[in-house]
């Protein structure tokens, strides 16, 4: 007895809850800080500086509260604008009152940049980021001068404590937010990838089952009919009319029975009524077959037509529910499907009295995946109470699916884990390099020795970054992260000691490694980074507040600091923004590409099933109907004793058997190759090669490959056949294709190589075939490359991990 938590699939929820959570946690933290500040003011230090800061913060908090309200009403863009404007105001105003606060302020704004990426898109994001970068630069410039003198009244320890506390809190808030956003996207990508694997596997399984059913049913019936016609002829020639007539009637019955089997197969593929009439008549037909002696079903379904795959996804759910409750007359089912804007909303409710024996419907993951595959959303909840049980599935599917024809290969690989670090290192090398040149020029102009020391520090930084990039390139992300931490600590501490005015910038630089450390590195590296960089940031701030070491920078002209500091602040902000947004954008793209790939697989499978259903209807079904009528005609002719009319009828029926059998064979081969069904991958490829228009050599140079079967074998087969067709299309006549399949440890390696002219620039555009390869191989967690070196043919390389191997 109790309520099961709802099972939610779909992609609409995540970003919304993340923004709401960010705003609410901000609000709570700020109220706590306000309370602590006023307590310190009342009981510890009655500094007017503290009171001014307290007042400034109330404006920031008001902005957060208003943003929270807007977010709650669904106005996410307005909420973002208000939230970020509040932050900008607070940071700039605080920097005026307390110039030493600038590093923290810049960090807050950088955190906003990192948070922005998953919530907004396009021009609006760029405007918001522009506002943030502008405010960060202004903060850096404002911190050069003490504007109010208010902070000078406060004790030094309060300043240091205030800034350090803020810094650490802000640093961790950024790391948590960026990580949370990344985790959210990453889990979404994994979930979609899993759904894609299931969809591909289910599609192959359905094709295999269809092939087996066609072979066992209609194909066998046609073979039997062929033999029956011979028997009828023999009996008629021998003058045994009674036997000939009986045989003809039996054959007609058999043809009718074969037709019924085939009709059932066709209906299961893609109901014609769904394709031609849409959801309303299709659901009505389902309800019609269920209601007789079954549960009471009420259906209110829109007559509006939507995308075929959206219709099929909802139809699949309705079918699942009605099948589950079919045997229980005291169950009530309510089906409502209505259009709402650009989506089709559906709600399926099943309920029954307690102990009625009917369990609530079990909806398989493949059925739910179909909804998600078309970009839909479904929530399933069930409840059992003393009054009875109820089960409800509700959600929506898009009315139009749009174009999913682009061919980006969506695969989640190790590169996605380290993308932030890679981008950060690339930008860092440029940033430190250009910085070094600028400082060297400044030294040449002014002759201040400290500047030469800073050039030396920047050379060390560039060297560390180059080494870190090398470590990352050789697949050692932990070492790369450690080198980056060391480099940023050296830079932050030495630059702050020499030029305390740079403390805002260097404190920010020192916490950056925490943001960009890849999630896959060892725990010890992560711990070292967090502890080391927090300490560095603290020391850097304290050094700045205390005025650094007396290195003689005071001799440098004022314009130098005034020019370089805002530039450096803006540069760091851009560096963080670029690397975190590179990571989040990459993940966003990955989620979108996997979603499109899943949609392609499912809509492609729907189109294929509809095509086969049409082919079966036009070919084998018509053939069997005609045969049943022809056999009845034969029986009548024999009964009436019209021997001159018998011969043409028999010849016609024989011809009909041959035509229908050849139609069915051709269709079956396209559905799923017979030898692949029996686990003979090499044989299936050889058969496919024999039926193609070009010469193909198929080999397994690495020894027997009998142990490759199931989804992997199907993936290799279909990808190689695509490659072969591609070669035939682009290679021209006379091209020779070589296919090799071998097993290396737990990976299947396959290559399709042709000796044609290769892909010229004009023909190198990826087509539908490459999208098929990308979707199939991606669904199996494999990798593929298509290469066409100048002067040689096209080469397709495929690597798929075997299930159960270490790579899976």
């Amino acid at each position: 007895m109790g309520t099961t938590p709802p099972l939610i699939t779909g992609s609409e929820q995540a970003p919304l809850t993340a923004l709401g959570r960010d705003i609410r946690s901000n609000l709570l933290a700020d109220l706590v800080v306000q309370a602590a500040t006023i307590l310190v003011y009342v009981f510890v230090v009655r500094s007017s500086w503290l009171l001014v800061l307290w007042l400034i913060r109330w404006i920031v908090i008001a902005a957060i509260a208003v943003a929270s309200r807007f977010e709650g009403k669904g106005h996410r863009q307005s909420a973002l604008w208000i939230l970020i404007s509040g932050h900008c105001w607070g940071v700039v105003a605080t920097a005026i009152v307390l110039p030493e606060f600038a590093p923290v302020g810049v960090l807050v704004l950088i955190g906003d940049i990192a948070l922005l990426v998953p919530h907004a898109s396009g021009r609006r994001t760029r405007r918001l980021i522009g506002l943030l970068v502008g405010s960060a630069t202004a903060t850096g410039a404002l911190s050069l001068q003490s504007w109010t003198g208010l902070a000078d009244e406060a004790p030094r320890w309060l300043l240091v404590g205030f800034i350090a506390g803020h810094l650490i809190a802000t640093g961790f808030a950024i790391i948590t937010s960026v990580r949370a956003a990344e985790d959210l996207l990453r889990s979404q990508a994994f979930r979609l990838a899993a759904a894609r694997s299931r969809a591909a596997s289910a599609s192959d399984q359905a094709s295999l089952e269809l092939r087996l059913r066609l072979d066992a049913g209609p194909a066998r019936v046609l073979d039997e009919l062929g033999l029956a016609i011979d028997d009828i002829e023999t009996a008629a020639e021998q003058g045994n009319t009674v036997e000939a007539r009986r045989l003809a009637d039996t054959a007609a019955d058999r043809a009718q029975q074969g037709l019924r089997e085939l009709r059932e197969i066709s209906h299961g593929l893609f109901p014609d009524v769904l394709a031609t009439g849409g959801l309303r008549p299709a659901v009505q037909a389902l309800v019609g077959t269920t209601s007789a002696g079954g549960p009471s079903v009420r259906a209110d379904v829109t007559s509006q037509r939507v995308h075929r795959s959206s219709e099929n996804a909802v139809y699949g759910l309705v079918g699942c529910v009605l099948t589950a409750v079919q045997a229980y007359p005291n169950t009530a089912v309510d089906i409502v499907v209505t259009p709402a804007g650009s989506r089709l909303r559906f709600a399926l409710l099943a309920s029954g009295p307690p102990g009625a024996g009917a369990a609530s419907p079990e909806v398989g993951s493949v059925t739910l995946d179909r909804v998600e595959a078309v970009g839909g959303l479904v929530t399933v909840d069930e409840a059992t109470t003393p009054e009875g049980w109820s089960w409800r599935a509700s959600g929506s599917v898009p009315i139009d699916i749009g174009s999913v024809t682009e061919t980006v290969a969506a695969g989640f690989g190790p590169d996605d884990e380290t993308v932030t670090l890679a981008v950060f290192l690339r930008f860092s090398a440029w940033f430190a390099g250009i910085g070094g040149v600028v400082v060297a020029i400044a030294y040449a102009l002014t002759g201040v020795v400290v500047l030469l020391v800073i050039v030396g520090v920047l050379v060390v930084v560039v060297a560390c970054v180059v080494l870190a990039r090398y470590a990352l390139g050789t697949d050692r992300p932990g070492l790369a992260a450690a080198l980056l931490s060391a480099e940023s600590s050296i830079a932050a501490l030495s630059v702050t000691a020499l030029v305390p005015e740079f403390a805002p910038v260097t404190a920010v630089i020192s916490v950056l490694p925490m943001v960009v450390t890849p999630p896959g590195v060892s725990r010890r590296v992560v711990q070292l980074t967090v502890v080391g960089q927090t300490l560095t940031a603290l020391c850097s701030t304290v050094l700045g507040v205390l005025g650094g070491i007396d290195a003689g920078f005071e001799t440098a002209p004022g314009w130098l600091v005034a020019a370089v500091l805002p530039l450096a602040t803006g540069g760091v902000a851009a560096l963080v923004g670029a690397s975190t947004s590179a990571s989040l954008t990459r993940l966003n793209d990955l989620v979108a590409a996997t979603q499109r790939s899943l949609t392609r697989l499912v809509t492609g499978a729907d189109d294929e099933r509809r095509r086969i259903e049409r082919d079966l209807h036009d070919g084998a079904q018509q053939g069997l109907v005609a045969l049943s009528l022809q056999c009845r005609a034969i029986a009548i002719v024999i009964a009436k004793g019209l021997p001159d009319r018998l011969a043409p009828l028999l010849a016609g029926a024989r011809q009909q058997v041959a035509t229908a059998r050849s139609d069915l064979d051709q269709l079956s081969r396209g559905v799923f190759p017979r030898r692949l069904a029996s686990g003979d991958l090499l044989g299936a490829l050889t058969d496919a090669a024999a039926g193609g228009p070009v010469a193909v050599h198929v080999s397994a140079t690495g020894g027997p490959i009998d142990d490759i079967h199931g989804d992997v074998a199907a993936g290799v087969y279909f990808a190689c056949v695509e490659g072969m067709q591609n070669a035939a299309k682009h290679g021209g006549p006379g091209v020779t294709v070589t296919i090799d399949v071998r097993r290396v440890d737990d990976t299947v390696i396959a290559s399709v190589v042709d000796d044609g002219p290769g892909l010229g620039r004009s023909t190198a555009r990826p087509g539908r075939g490459l999208a098929n390869i990308a979707d199939r191989i991606g669904a199996l967690g494999g990798r593929w490359t298509l290469s066409s070196p100048p002067g040689s043919g096209v080469r397709l390389d495929i690597a798929i991990p075997l299930p159960g191997g270490p790579g899976t």
Binding site: R263, H267, V273, V625, Q630, V637, G652
Partner: protein, 150 residues
């Protein structure tokens, strides 16, 4: 406007000529027109139904358009219409035929079942009936024709 007028004239002409062309009195044989895009079915059904002395297969054509052509100049008592045809579906053609030729008996047929096509259960009072192709027998056609006629 011209097109509408011409079409209207044609329909009127047909309505007037119909009483002369169709069912002017009791007929000894039932004149049947077969409309189906599958040549295999057309051949098989013609030879099968043609064996029954009560039926006369007037013609077997591949589309609704061709059927209207035949109806306009031949006497037909019953039309056997396939539901799914590429250019115009049998269901759509049946509506126009029923309106233009009230005395014409119309039987829809298909290799697909009622459920597949979303056609409601059998109803004797309906103007147009549906028979699955594999259950097609001369008696069913004659029965429907007699019911429609009386």
């Amino acid at each position: 406007m011209l097109v509408v007028t011409i079409t209207g004239t044609v329909v009127l002409a047909r309505l007037f000529s119909r009483s002369d062309d169709c069912h002017s009195g009791p007929v000894s044989t039932l004149r049947v027109l077969v409309v189906d895009d599958s040549p295999a079915f057309r051949a098989a059904v013609s030879s099968f139904l043609g064996l029954d002395d009560r039926l006369d297969i007037v013609d077997a054509v591949e589309s609704a358009a061709a059927a209207f052509d035949v109806l306009s100049h031949r006497r037909v008592d019953l039309v056997l219409l396939d539901v799914t045809m590429p250019e115009r579906s049998g269901t759509s053609a049946a509506v126009e035929m029923a309106a233009t030729y009230p005395k014409l008996t119309i039987v829809l047929c298909s290799t697909m079942s009622r459920t597949d096509l979303g056609i409601p259960a059998h109803d004797d009072s309906r103007r147009v009936i549906f028979i699955p192709k594999d259950e097609l027998v001369p008696d069913a056609l004659i029965e429907q024709w007699e019911r429609h006629l009386h």
